[in-house]
């Protein structure tokens, strides 16, 4: 990969005594779909949250385009930047959460419009039109005016995907998007994500869906204990792993 869109460089993070990330580096190219696999507690989610600065790395940094998240480069120094600046930097990434986190007091279409109108300053009529189109795109043309608590988990997650896409981010980050769903609802969300991948979206996906990773990912990254153990094409990492820890994990989940 010559030009990376998103790059984590030697990121370390600890929570109290627990070293969650140990100098992890990861780079994602434009249009690439990267799946992060690994046992729970391996640091996948924390790494993903560092990619939009929901977590601030203790050491190392994350670069999106030519900006360092949370910092401003000036005169050969990295200066911690303002909260407003971080909010602006976050616009280049969109995030889909495990628990959906739809704004509970807003309807589906209002959830999707919130970013464009409040952050980008798009006028309401245009934002509504575009939000409607996005909801139609994820198969929710009937549910524009439903509140989150009137939607199934799968529908909520598809609204969340539309909400992330509405900001037209360079990269979409997915944090175990199907882990909170009933088995029969997992498929509808995975199908939506797959169609995004086929349309050329750049995606980083933390998941336990090995089948999805094998089918959709351009690259699979296997993490354990805060480190990347193995990374490469799905055919090599999933079907012919080398590291014993990866072999052990895959033999238990496949």
């Amino acid at each position: 990969m010559t030009t990376s869109l998103l790059e984590a460089v030697q990121v370390s993070k600890r929570f109290g005594q627990n070293q969650v990330l140990k100098s992890v580096s990861l780079s994602v190219g434009r249009g690439e779909v990267v799946c992060l696999l690994g046992p729970s507690g391996s640091g996948k989610t924390t790494l993903l949250r560092c990619l939009n600065h929901l977590e601030r790395p203790d050491e190392g940094f994350v670069r999106v385009g030519d900006e360092v998240l949370g910092y401003r480069q000036a005169g050969g120094v990295l200066r911690e930047t303002s909260e407003r600046d971080i909010a602006r930097q976050r616009r280049s990434t969109g995030m889909v959460f495990q628990q959906f986190n739809l704004f509970a007091h807003r309807t589906a279409i209002e959830n999707v419009m919130e970013g464009p109108t409040q952050v980008k300053g798009v006028d309401r009529a245009r934002a509504r039109q575009r939000a409607g189109a996005l909801l139609d795109h994820v198969g929710l043309s009937e549910k524009h005016n439903a509140y989150p608590n009137q939607l199934s988990g799968g529908q909520q997650q598809r609204v969340a995907i539309a909400r992330a896409m509405a900001m037209e981010p360079d990269v979409l980050l997915f944090d175990e998007p199907t882990s909170a769903l009933d088995p029969e609802l997992v498929l509808e969300v995975l199908e939506t994500m797959k169609s995004l991948a086929l349309e050329g979206a750049t995606m980083v996906v933390v998941t336990h869906e090995i089948g999805f990773a094998r089918e959709v990912a351009d690259r699979v990254v296997f993490m354990a204990d805060g480190q990347i153990l193995e990374e490469g094409e799905p055919s090599s990492v999933i079907d012919a792993p080398e590291h014993p820890r990866v072999k052990e994990f895959l033999s238990r989940v496949l």
């Binding site: 939009n52 929901l54 909260e83 407003r84 909010a87 602006r88 976050r90 616009r91 990434t93 969109g94 995030m95 959460f97 628990q99 986190n101 739809l102 704004f103 509970a104 007091h105 807003r106 309807t107 919130e114 970013g115 409040q118 952050v119 439903a146 509140y147 989150p148 608590n149 009137q150 969340a160 909400r163 992330a164 509405a166 900001m167």
Partner: protein, 317 residues
């Protein structure tokens, strides 16, 4: 009734010498359990209600005609106006202070958090009547209010007792009291909005102040509304203690009338009626606000009747 069922009713769980089959059970008549309390309790209740009403209406001391005469008496209405004014101003000032104190208690800076905690501890700890009397006598603590720079001649110097009338004292005491309780309501309501909501806001590029205004605050309000309405109701009634420092509120006005006329019970009844009316109005306002902030919590109800109608219209067309 066939032989099988009559045998069962006689306490025999078997029919002949076999256990009844499912078919037997389906054929048996069903006797619902008699719910005796459902018939007797309403009768007892009606008797109690009737007795209360009769003793109430029939009591000469109540003097309903006197009640009617004073209900819209100018002095009483002025008192009512004072009560409402005190309650509304104290609640408004109290709420603003409550938000500030809540923000202090949620601050990341230890000393600010500590100041908020001490404020709550103090003004929740001092009984309201004591607080009111202390405020009333604040002139003894600070005889003059001085505006100016230290070590220079004061620009303005006023006697505290001129500046702070009993009603201002009341507003100050009630506001501080309300701020202490209200801040806990505001703080806990804001904290009950899940972190995921904030993170989702941050993830679409909102600044934290925008996250607060657009997401945390409206959702917190839904939780805070019934609690704050409770506070407001309590505040409205608590204002009656200003009678102690001779502020002419509803109670004080009634007292000054009956100290002349000795129509004590009828006037207290007038006071009671007005407080009940005020609380009823507040309760209506509360349910309106709850509906307004809670739109997202009501599952959309499809009215089955209307649905049917629409279908029949469609088929008719």
């Amino acid at each position: 009734m066939d032989a099988a069922t009559s045998a069962l009713m006689a306490g025999d769980t078997k029919i002949g010498n076999r256990v009844p089959t499912a078919e037997d059970l389906l054929r048996m008549p069903v006797h619902r359990r008699r719910r005796l309390a459902r018939r007797t309790v309403p009768i007892v209740a009606l008797v109690v209600i009737a007795a209360t009403v009769v003793s109430f209406l029939g009591n000469e001391a109540l003097e309903w005609s006197t009640v009617g005469r004073y209900l819209f008496d100018q002095q009483i209405l002025d008192g009512l106006g004072m009560t409402v004014t005190l309650a509304v101003i104290s609640m408004a000032v109290g709420l603003v202070l409550a938000c500030i104190v809540a923000a202090m208690r949620l601050s990341g800076i230890l000393i600010v958090r500590g100041m908020g905690a001490v404020f709550v501890w103090f003004f929740r700890g001092v009984p309201l009547l004591v607080l009111l009397v202390v405020t009333f006598n604040i002139g003894l603590l600070y005889p003059n209010i001085v505006v100016g720079l230290p070590f220079y001649e004061p620009l303005v110097s006023l006697r505290t007792s001129d500046l702070i009338s009993p009603r201002v004292c009341a507003v100050v005491a009630f506001s501080l009291y309300e701020a202490a309780y209200g801040s806990e309501v505001v703080r806990s309501s804001l904290m009950s909005v899940p972190t995921g909501q904030r993170e989702a806001g941050a993830a679409i590029g909102m600044t934290s102040s925008k996250v607060f205004r657009r997401i945390v605050f409206p959702q917190g309000m839904r939780i805070a509304t019934p609690l704050l309405a409770n506070q407001f109701i309590q505040m409205t009634k608590n204002t009656s203690i200003v009678a102690y420092i001779a502020v002419p509120d509803l109670l004080y006005s009634a007292q000054s009338v009956y100290s002349r006329t000795f129509e004590i019970i009828p006037l207290l009844l007038v006071v009671t009626i007005w407080y009940l009316v005020l609380v009823a109005l507040l309760t209506i306002a509360q349910s309106y606000l709850e509906r307004r902030f809670g739109a997202h919590e009501r599952p959309r109800r499809t009215n089955p009747l209307r649905k049917q109608k629409a279908i029949s219209h469609g088929s008719a067309a």
